[in-house]
């Protein structure tokens, strides 16, 4: 692993659906283009493959993308949001410097991965993802 890669912010994508989380991760990686891509891990559905949220999958995904530069967690809705918040409130189940990023799931994920891949810090990744809310389609 190169020195630059080690400094990249990790991105976790939490969805009620494993397929959604994996697809959005693939889309964001693809749109981040060539070169070094920030580590991205999907955490979709429950451990037994159903729809829902698994705190174990979220914790594992966060640990997998943690390079020491912080982890940005984006999620879809409902139990995904509540689970991440509950994990953050406890303080010992996610890597240090893990942040819930309040952003639209798909657009925010793309913005976060593109920005993180440039070597930007966690605050800049969060700001880029949140800015996706202001992108109007009409």
């Amino acid at each position: 692993m190169s020195e630059t890669e080690e400094k990249l912010v990790g991105i976790v994508l939490v969805s009620h659906s494993a397929a959604v989380a994996e697809s959005v991760a693939a889309l964001a990686r693809a749109l981040a283009g060539g070169g070094t891509t920030a580590p991205v891990a999907p955490a979709g559905g429950t451990v037994d493959g159903g729809f829902g949220t698994s705190s174990e999958l979220v914790s594992a995904a966060a640990a997998a993308v943690d390079r020491g530069a912080g982890v940005a967690v984006l999620m879809d809705l409902g139990s995904a949001v509540l689970t991440v918040k509950a994990l953050l409130a406890e303080g010992d189940e996610l890597p240090e410097n893990t942040r819930l990023v309040d952003a639209p799931f798909v657009e925010g994920a793309v913005a976060a991965v593109v920005t993180a891949s440039t070597g930007a810090d966690l605050a800049a990744v969060e700001a880029a993802a949140m800015e996706a809310y202001s992108y109007r389609k009409q």
Partner: protein, 199 residues
Amino acid sequence: MLDAEFFRRWMTAAAASVDREAERLTALDSPIGDADHGSNMQRGFRAVTAVLEKEAPDTPGAILQLAGRQLISTVGGASGPLYGTLLRRTGKALGDAAEVTEEQLTEALRAGVDAVMALGGAAPGDKTMVDALVPAVDALGTSFRAASAAADEGAVATTPLQARKGRASYLGERSIGHQDPGATSSALLIAALVEASDE
């Protein structure tokens, strides 16, 4: 005084009650939710009783914190982090005392319910578990029975409300006329306090 055994009995009674009522909880969750509340709660509380047997924590605070942690990791729906936070925060507030008074439990549960409201952003009247838990904590100073009755009443009173939180809120006015499944399971949790006590 309430010792670790009391809290163990509380969790066991809650698990048994959720087992008995799982079908009803899922039925309530069908018209306004995604029809998984009973099975989610059942999976969560079965895991709670299993982990309590295995790890055998010996203080009230440790029992509730372990139970809460287990709910967060096993339920799979929004009730996992919500009930998990309720029990963990209540457990944390109880500290590491070997026995606690009913007043201490009341105050700790109040802290737990506050944490649930902060996590989910729900207030009384939003047609959520808060509608059973807040009146229950308010009545807990009288007796466990009074708290249980207040929780039941609060759960029933969610029927005419329009949901303002959670998936049911997407239904708007169509959420009116259904008793909230989360308030109903909250009432079961409070009723289990009566079973656990000698009243």
